[in-house]
Subunit: 392 residues, 2 copies
Amino acid sequence: MINIALLGFGTVGKGTYEILERQKEEIKEITGEEIVVKKILKRNLDFETSINRDIFTNDYTDIIEDDEIKLIAEMTGDVDSSYKYIKEALLRKKHIVTANKAVVSENFEEFLKLAKENNVNFLYESSVAGSIPIIKPLKDQSIINNIKKIRGILNGTSNFLLYKMTEENYDYSEVLKMAQEMGFAESDPTDDVEGIDALRKLRILSTIAFKASIKNEDIDSYGISSISKVDIEYLKEKNKKIKLIAESKIEEDKFMALVEPVILNSKDNLANIANAENSVEISGQNYGSLTFIGEGAGMLPTGNAVVTDILDAITNNNYNVIINKNLKNNNNDFKANYYIRVKKDVELNNITLEEEIFKNYKIIKTKEIKRKELINSLKEINKKDYFFARYN
Amino acid sequence: MINIALLGFGTVGKGTYEILERQKEEIKEITGEEIVVKKILKRNLDFETSINRDIFTNDYTDIIEDDEIKLIAEMTGDVDSSYKYIKEALLRKKHIVTANKAVVSENFEEFLKLAKENNVNFLYESSVAGSIPIIKPLKDQSIINNIKKIRGILNGTSNFLLYKMTEENYDYSEVLKMAQEMGFAESDPTDDVEGIDALRKLRILSTIAFKASIKNEDIDSYGISSISKVDIEYLKEKNKKIKLIAESKIEEDKFMALVEPVILNSKDNLANIANAENSVEISGQNYGSLTFIGEGAGMLPTGNAVVTDILDAITNNNYNVIINKNLKNNNNDFKANYYIRVKKDVELNNITLEEEIFKNYKIIKTKEIKRKELINSLKEINKKDYFFARYN
């Protein structure tokens, strides 16, 4: 029998608990262990439940000081307390499984080090791309392959917005409101629409893939909050789609790591990712590309990833992460052609290759320019008055 | 140091050897072990190589009787001798990793049992879908999810043919010849184009997914050897694509498992699988669907899967397969609408819902009928004179 604790009993906590209960038999048969949820940390203990109330506590001490508890699954969604929870747990030689991309991306190397020093497992499949089991194969690949590029749609909310705008002709503010009503977007959607959530996930994937610390601050992001119907319509006429793409690649000792809107051909696998799905594409020396597509969030999809990690932690079925390289950040010098939509009277002659007037706006295709040149050129313009995207 | 042996030094053997050599450092860092290829079984020892010739032998006894050899990677592509090689190795408590879908599909339960009894690992990631790491997540899912359906493109050759016919308007015999010249199809392409290769892989995936023995003989297949340009053109006008789909699903205590051409909407992820790629889609209780897309074959792609298994075997990073259900075969009673193309004068009134003449052929859309009804109706017609596909 293995006693575990869950921190948090929201969407992910409930999904995790449900799967553990439902699959008790299979888990016992394969791992040889009965997994018992001994404690669940929950802030507010005044609530209805059919589960034995003794399991719930709002005091982390009940969990951290219980030597019977061998593994803690952290799913609070909080950043500050979860850093403390995770650190303490690792120091006390308890396995950690977490769904918390913010706290993992902020403290990745430290957590990996603590886990290694204390000979316990630190797993975080559920912190990236929901139900897509990407961390495990990525770790395998980092050992036996030389991964050159990671490309993906790592945020379901922003994909949902772009998908609905493309399929059903909504304007941005309309579709955001609809998404919020449907529960696909938060009341403050900043992290999702500005690419920050995707950035954190890309940070985790890139560090594993390239065997080098690529931190949140190493990644630049530009989101979709100033996209308009006009952009979607213009690109549709050219048979193109726009997606918020998280991408990182290495060349010799340099890396590029960006989250920004990218214009894709309709044949590109990523162009067709629907609704709130996520997708990750890995390219390396051993094959052209390997693509995963799946649900990025939700009670059972994310619970699925948490439970996979719980099993892998208690059976020790997992690999460490190699971090042994130092790479230089090449984002500023990364060259591409960009799409820029501005007001009709704006001139960006220095960087313009082609321009046309479309529905009373100016659509520019830039020369092949460095990203820093693009950012500089747009500095004087109010953010709300332009939208840009990279041509793939 | 762990001594291993490779059986076969063709495409997959060479890819495996190359990756093991190239990634020595990373493998040592993560597994703590140096993996040494002590012996390679090769039929013909009269060949050029830069590798130390002492490693090569044409006598399996040199390998099976060497107690230093802890793992054998079987990649001969042969069915009869590899059955003996694998069985002997497991009985002698040597781990087995194999790329041989034919021998795995013929003897799956027996090999699983022998491995379990002898407390060694039997892994076969490279026997299904080349570079796509599907077996590992499928095993995880079989423990913690209730998988309802598996759907995929499991044969690269047939997908290459259909893809080229669709994109570039080739006729079947033209594109087959081209594929053979390019090395994408064998001189005898039967296994690939008749769906038999895909069938063997579906057998393996379905048994794991549904936790029940679903054997080769339980799966029906109908391939693409009588497809013609006419079919592609007709479906293109309706904005549909045709793919050779391996699909199995369960409902209560019944299963369906078929390999046949299926007509897909262009929005379906599987509709856009290009060239010789493979794809697998899993659907279950914990999420709508999870899709993998990647290269189905080739030296490094398949070698990549073999080496992943080698590492998982020597570190014991893997799960057993649960087989604890008995399911009834429902293929004959499986109902669908079918597309049938026949000569203009053929009447299939009993099953016809709609028909039209297209480019001098009769195109029928059937009523919703049982598969056995479809097969019966076509019994009197020469196989070369019709082509059918299932509407999704």
